[in-house]
Amino acid sequence: MSLPDGYHGRILEVDLTTGGVQVTALEPALVEDYLGGRGLATRIFYAASDPACDPLGPENVVVLATSPLLGTNAPTSCRGHMVFKSPLTGVIGSSNSGGTWALVFKSTGYDVLVIRGASAEPVMIDITPEAARILPAKHLWGLDVHETTARLLSEAAGNKRGRVLCIGPAGENLVRFAAVMNDKNRAYGRGGPGAVLGAKKLKAIRVRGNLKTTITEPERYQSGLEQARYLIKAVPTTKRLLRDMGTSGLIRLINVIDMLPARNFQDNRHSFEELENAGGEALRDTILVRPGACGVCPLACQRHTQVGPRKGEGPEYETLALLGPNCGVYDLEAVTLANYRCNELGLDTMSCGTTIACAMELFDKGIIPPAAANGLELRFGNHAILEELVERIAFREGLGDILAEGSLRLAKHFNHPELSMTVKGLEIPAYDPRASYTQALGYMTSPTGACHLRGGYAVSLAFFGGAKEIPRFSLLQSPIAIRNMQNLGLIQDSLGICRFTGYAFGTEPWSRMASGVTGRDFSTARLEEIADRIAALERLFNLEAGVTPEDDTLPARFSTEPLVVAGQQRVVSREVITRLRSDYYEARRWDRLGRPTAGLLSKLRINGRQT
């Protein structure tokens, strides 16, 4: 079996303990079974990793993979995928980012980067088509993301495009929700990959390349491309909403469906006046400088903004909601400045926001005494402290040192774990699960903990799905609906494309584009099978890392504290959780303990640790 077009066929393996750099061949069978991006990274990570390892130890492995579509003009095909064991959750970390870094990395002639070991001193990796080198980076240690990026680009010579992926001080200080940033403001955000690189003393990866991606069957590829482009222009969300208002335009819309969290998910009510100053419309009218886009992206959801003299990117919806209303804050500028600082210091804004919200509730209830707050008035709505808190978290100063551990460890530290709004230790995104069983189940079963993307982008079925909208409280429909959404996400992540294209279309155009690029039959049925295979492998890793069905659940708040949703009091009761979970396992063909059955593994050609 030969390697199809769309791949360079090379894996770059770097051992930071030994300083070794080697290139190995990408086996054709791997891409046939796992495609690229998330699939390929998961497969290589699974084979190389020890599920029992310390995520911040040298034995943790980081795999970063691209896809066959990267390097083409397929809409949004710029995304890279990083897999690691998460220091925040102890389960698989699986993070995806836009920007252009992954595109340029692929143009250096590699499909995958594998990072093992840990360096004693700060280092960086410099990759070009000619060479891959580990270089000293002591001079970069302590610099923020923007400074690091600027320094490395200015040092880069030659005519190749240069891009930088790096960590900020948060990663260096092993903040458990530190992000890996690229293009300054784009993040491999969730699960703490920045801390993993920080523990390896890997400050940055600079790439410069110019190699092209070839397309085997241009006409087949083009047919999918034209369909994709048409549908993107036809659907209001992809045609207009994201470009006009960025994802922050969702604030009001998510509020309309009663999903926008307030004060650490204690409520979902917001006044019109509050949101008027805190949504996409306000952003557009006050601080927006211009929209921007990741590589080959027609959606242009990036917000380049300015607050006073300070310029930056964001906030996006999750950031705006979780550092905003979920902290009781409705001050757009305060959230924006906190967002800027998160980007500069290399923090996941989502976990950061929900961890701060948790701290605020602990403070509000008198559990964190004022003395422990180091002089900060941690009450809900105190927008003035946001940026300061971000700073203290990144540098682990005072109470920030405990917040840097994430909300679950924070809440446990103060003996109130029930106030942590997390699943498997990952902070819940800004869609209240009481407003949709599908969303709830997505959080419960996301392999990485509560993630709206890895768990299935369920909100797009609740309000923006167009023809795909489903009932929000259907016990019968939710398990399969979320499995199918997760599978679509697995395919998107494995093709290096953006979740937002899902507003316009599903798998079919991608099937044609992937088949056109590779010359292989990546039919939608085959893509579905690949998705099932990746999901099973992620689950295997998590089971080996100690996950049990009890981890596939929601915080008690969502079962015991009702909210008004569409005029009715709603919770996700324990009975509903049990039923949804068990039906989801069946939908996945996992057993009642959430283990992929032997029959399924055999069908998917997964041999556990021998894979």
């Binding site: 799905g465 259907s474 099932d532």
Partner: protein, 441 residues
Amino acid sequence: MTGSKWKVNESLIRRFQSVGRALLLCDLEDSHSGNIALRWKNPETGRDQLVITSTGSQKGDLAASDICFLPAEGTDYGYYKASSETDIHARILALEGVSASVHAHTKHLTFVTLDEGDKPGRPAPFIPVDPLGHYHLGGLVPVDRFAVPSGSREMTETVPQRLSDHRVTAIQGHGAFAKARTIEEGLFRLCIADNSGYVVQMAERVGVDVATLRAGIQAAPDAHFSYPPDEYTIADDQSCDFPEEEELVREFYKAGARIFESRLSPFHTGSLSVRGIAALLYAPKAAMPREISGPLLRTPLAADSADSPELALHKAIYELSNFQTIAHCHVPEAEALAHFVYPGESRPNDRIVPIDAEGSFFYLVIPVVPPKTEVETLVRLLHDYKVVIVRGGGVWGVGAQSLSEVLHHPSSVREICQYRVAAYERGLDLRALEPEKAGKW
């Protein structure tokens, strides 16, 4: 009519109103045409009565006073409002096993049964070329030509006679009568008959050799159709096995109403399903007017030897896929175009290529497969195309998520077919209109 009578008859009158409204929505009637009749046991007297719509009433907006209650044993000409065709209905209702009789101006059936033969004479019977017509109408509909084709004595003699052997009979240039067990079944049969007429009309409009097709069907009917549709049932139309799934029940009724109102499948035909883990939620009469629902069933997802071929195919598709929703509709335009042969070619096309902008982007091509296609092949095509036309077997569409999603497929197919028919009739070169890339798919 007195208040007490209204109370006694309220549910009956509502049924008449619903069927009348559905007849209008199906375009089987003009504003005032047709009549609906029922043999009914009056609960107050215990005696059978003939209940019939009044002459000249608007069937789409029947009032209580438009429903006439007559003695069952004979027409009551003294009742000034009863239909002028009451005596025909009375004789139909006297046939064994018949409790209802419906007459409508089934235009499409009537169009395609026009001929230039001598009057009075007897035209050739109408032979359906679609599976619904073939199986539900027993393979043919008698056609009669009358000198006075409305309420005449000869009609009164002949129409009930025809219906003693057939479910529907047609009157050239006028419409059709159906015998039935319920007025809903009467509506069903007339819808099937008119739909069959429409399929033939569509086929003729795109140059299909209907005579040859009919000959083939008559020679080997089973080879031309996938399988017999479910027998029409008259009980439990209001039943719902999953009332706790309130939102989903609403989705079923909404999708069903759309299928009916948009004429994606004739009244109470087609099927819809949503798959659960071990259960299947199933609407076996997918085309449901808002006022005349069909049953909503919960059935095990596992195959059962007692399953009808229709239900079995839903289950088989799910067994081989991750789909969550399925719609099967008998889109008449698709039934006709499945037999289309490009000028200069000899075999029916194996795909329908959209020539309209939206259709061509949503669906590069729509596969057309033979009636006995294996389920594995059907599922493979559904994975890649989301919708497949089975020649002699309807349109199958699948969705990953919702009923609304899957409803879109037959709806688009209908429009795509309409564009092609219109282009063909205008003498345009369909091949030239088709996107070049579609030839490769």
